[in-house]
């Protein structure tokens, strides 16, 4: 058995210390009980680190149009394609999995190549926690431990389960301490709340702006509380009670999380959460799996350039969502040469060249957690057949690191104007609205196939469905059959599915945030019908991972 390597878990920004030991046959997780942030505790994602290292779906050789290729062929192709196109016809996109130093390197590469087309392709709503409001302080671990009043927006517990430990300790430390949860779904986290505000899906920012106006009417001038509460589907009295609990004199914090397929205006969601923190004089944390800086080009503009045929060579590095879904990003069909990097074999296969990369766990990097700077050491030697990021970048050019552009924080007036505009946008229409559920299930659907849809009992009766019967959900981009899970936590007219597995993600078409024009993954209007498949009890429907 090797000595366990100590590193910082890369799967979210909580900065948990984790480790892997190797017994000569398999890698096993090691838990460091002396770690400051997590005391050896890990979430399901962190616990799947060892299986990623030698996962059977790891990509170990370059793929060209879905077939095996060689590194020599790949390098020759990249150099040839690179020489065929003009600099402005090259686009570079980075997404989840790229470390801060690697993003800086890509900024240097774009400058070296002379292309302005450098975009962040991590379009998950959570990345909008990069949008900051001036005058709001980041929360620390000490803030959480000393909190007497906590406002949790979205499912924070499922985004960073390990961080929830301190929040629960703070909740139970004094009977007078209060937890307020704002969410469209009554999650398990809401079960811990003293006060739960169930809003209509996507209207969290409006409820938050109304809450801020009740805490400090002077700061939130122009907010029509009655209209915002009506749009959010909550009562003014509820918000007044929450405002009393969040008074500026009470120590506490505001935490927010955003989930794929559950947020309509991610930029406003982020800023409205911070606005409440500002008026309530509390620190703020935006819980997320990763945070990547915005690029000089917006992803929406890059999509347009691809659709108009102005991009001939696309180099996508990092997580492949939504790049690998032809249904979601049909614009890539117009691009002649596609090059991507991946740690797993793309499923389904993608056109162009896919280069196998080392996983985050196999390389050293420096980054940030919610609580400060962290360093990551390799947990294992790089898997045979993979290569480091820098080696592939060199095929394009010798690029030095260049700092990314720092985004200026927004002001209060910007947030108020955005909220006013959002209140004027009509909600998505349709009989059924599909929303996403956050589950920390580990990489590659580690222990949950996410084949269940949560449905309100009344809705299930309307559809003629019962527990464990099957529903076919059809969206403009895809369709999938789901087993019914009866859950009164879900509002009427809403269907909720997990968003970790590819089949489910394809059901959410990419949408444009009308406030920013940027691409996002919002709740989707869908059609649904009961299928003839016989109900199967969950316990009988065993999925075995081998």
């Amino acid at each position: 058995m090797t000595q366990p390597t100590r590193t910082t878990c890369p799967f979210c920004l909580n900065g948990c210390t984790s480790g892997v030991e190797f017994n000569g046959v398999v890698h096993q997780m090691h838990y460091f009980a002396d770690a400051e942030v997590n005391k050896g505790r890990l979430c399901p994602r962190g616990n799947s680190a060892n299986i990623v290292i030698d996962h059977r779906e790891r990509l170990c050789r370059p793929l060209l149009d879905g077939r095996d290729s060689t590194w020599a062929e790949a390098e020759a192709l990249v150099r040839a394609w690179r020489s065929e196109v003009k600099p402005e016809e090259i686009a570079i996109v980075y997404s989840r999995g790229r470390a801060a130093d690697e993003v800086r390197r890509l900024h240097g590469l774009a400058e070296e190549l002379g292309t302005p087309n450098l975009a962040c392709g991590h379009i998950e709503p959570e990345n909008w926690f990069n949008a900051r409001l001036e005058g709001v302080r980041d929360a620390t671990l000490a803030d959480i431990e000393a909190a007497k009043s906590m406002l949790l927006v979205g499912d924070v517990f499922n985004t960073s389960p390990v961080a929830s430990w301190r929040m629960l300790d703070a909740r139970y430390s004094d009977r007078k301490n209060r937890v307020i949860v704002v969410d469209s779904v009554k999650t398990r986290q809401a079960g811990f709340a003293h006060f739960f505000l169930q809003v209509r899906p996507g209207t969290e920012p409006l409820a938050l702006m109304a809450l801020a106006a009740l805490i400090d009417p002077g700061a939130a001038h122009g907010v029509d509380v009655d209209r915002y509460t009506e749009l959010a589907g909550v009562k003014r009295q509820q918000l007044e009670a929450a405002a009393d609990m969040l008074g500026p004199a009470v120590p506490g914090f505001v935490a927010s999380a955003m989930h794929t397929g559950r947020v309509v205006h991610p930029s406003l969601h982020s800023l409205a959460s911070q606005f409440v923190a500002k008026v309530a004089a509390k620190p703020f944390t935006g819980f997320r799996e990763t945070g990547l800086p915005f690029g000089p080009t917006r992803f929406a503009d890059l999509r347009r350039a691809m659709a108009e045929g102005r991009i001939k060579l696309l180099f996508w590095t990092g997580g492949l969502f939504p790049f690998s879904y032809a249904e979601l990003l049909p614009e890539t069909a117009k691009v002649e040469h596609l090059i991507a990097t991946s740690i797993f074999s793309p499923d389904p296969p993608v056109r162009g060249l896919v280069l196998p990369m080392t996983a985050e766990l196999e390389r050293a990097s420096v980054g940030r957690s919610y609580w400060g700077e962290v360093e990551r050491s390799p947990l294992a030697a790089p898997l045979s057949g993979t290569r480091q990021f820098g080696q592939m970048v060199e095929w394009f050019g010798r690029a030095a690191e260049k700092p990314e552009t720092v985004v200026k924080p927004s002001g209060v007036d910007d947030v108020l104007a955005m909220a006013a505009r959002a209140a004027g946008i009509p909600p998505a229409t349709g009989e059924w609205l599909l929303i996403g559920e956050k589950k920390a299930i580990g990489l590659r659907g580690f222990h949950d196939p996410e084949d269940e849809v949560s449905v309100n009992r009344a809705d299930a009766a309307r559809l003629g469905a019962s527990a464990h019967s099957y529903l076919m959900i059809k969206s403009p981009t895809a369709e999938r059959e789901f087993r019914v899970h009866l859950a009164d936590a879900v509002p009427t007219g809403v269907l909720m599915i997990g968003t970790n597995v590819h089949a489910n993600r394809c059901l959410f078409p990419l949408a444009a945030d009308e406030l920013t024009g940027e691409v996002t993954v919002a709740p989707a209007p869908v059609s649904v019908e009961k299928t003839a498949r016989a109900p199967v009890a969950a316990s009988e429907n065993l999925t075995v991972w081998v």
């Binding site: 398999v26 096993q28 997780m29 838990y31 009980a33 997590n38 050896g40 505790r41 890990l42 979430c43 399901p44 962190g46 616990n47 799947s48 060892n50 299986i51 517990f157 499922n158 389960p161 390990v162 929830s164 430990w165 629960l168 139970y172 009554k186 999650t187 398990r188 986290q189 809401a190 079960g191 811990f192 920390a440 299930i441 580990g442 580690f446 222990h447 949950d448 899970h485 009866l486 859950a487 009164d488 936590a489 316990s539 065993l542 075995v544 991972w545 081998v546």
Partner: protein
């Protein structure tokens, strides 16, 4: 003996315990989850009963209770996968592994001195590994888990 106990008021239903077990045993978790209510998913693991029904049901005496540690163990080598233990378990926590025609059985991670992985990894500390007599419910002699099934004392 030491047992795994759950503090439901700390469990957030994240299934990290299951993931840790699955991670160690390459996909074969010995701990399962069940819904207590539609919005509360709680872990369910082997309780290492005082008089285990699974051992009594096993036709080949593959399952035995260790008299020193109290751990109920199963020999994978001799298991024929008849699923009798899975049927006999009053708590339904022995899932049959269909691919190998064997049943999985928690051993309280006897291979590691720090105790069970699921307990150590639990993000909120909802799972505790503690001596029987430290359980307040047991001290008080109230309901917690002292149950009998078919006249046998299971826990």
């Amino acid at each position: 003996m030491k047992r795994i106990v759950l503090r439901p008021d700390y469990c957030i239903g994240c299934r990290s315990c299951e993931a840790a077990c699955r991670s160690r045993f390459k996909g074969e978790a010995r701990i399962r989850h069940g819904e207590v209510t539609t919005d509360a998913l709680l872990p369910q693991g082997c309780r290492h009963c005082e008089d285990p029904l699974c051992a009594a049901a096993c036709p080949f005496q593959v399952i035995v209770k260790d008299p020193d540690t109290g751990v109920v163990r199963k020999s994978d080598f001799h298991c024929v996968g008849c699923r009798s233990c899975a049927l006999a378990c009053p708590f339904g926590v022995i899932p049959p592994l269909l691919m190998r025609h064997m049943s999985q059985k928690c051993t309280l991670c006897s291979d590691r001195p720090e105790g069970p992985r699921c307990v150590q990894t639990c993000p909120t500390g909802a799972l505790q590994f503690t001596e029987d007599d430290r359980m307040p419910e047991k001290k008080a002699g109230v309901g917690f888990a002292v149950r009998s099934v078919h006249g046998r004392r299971v826990q």
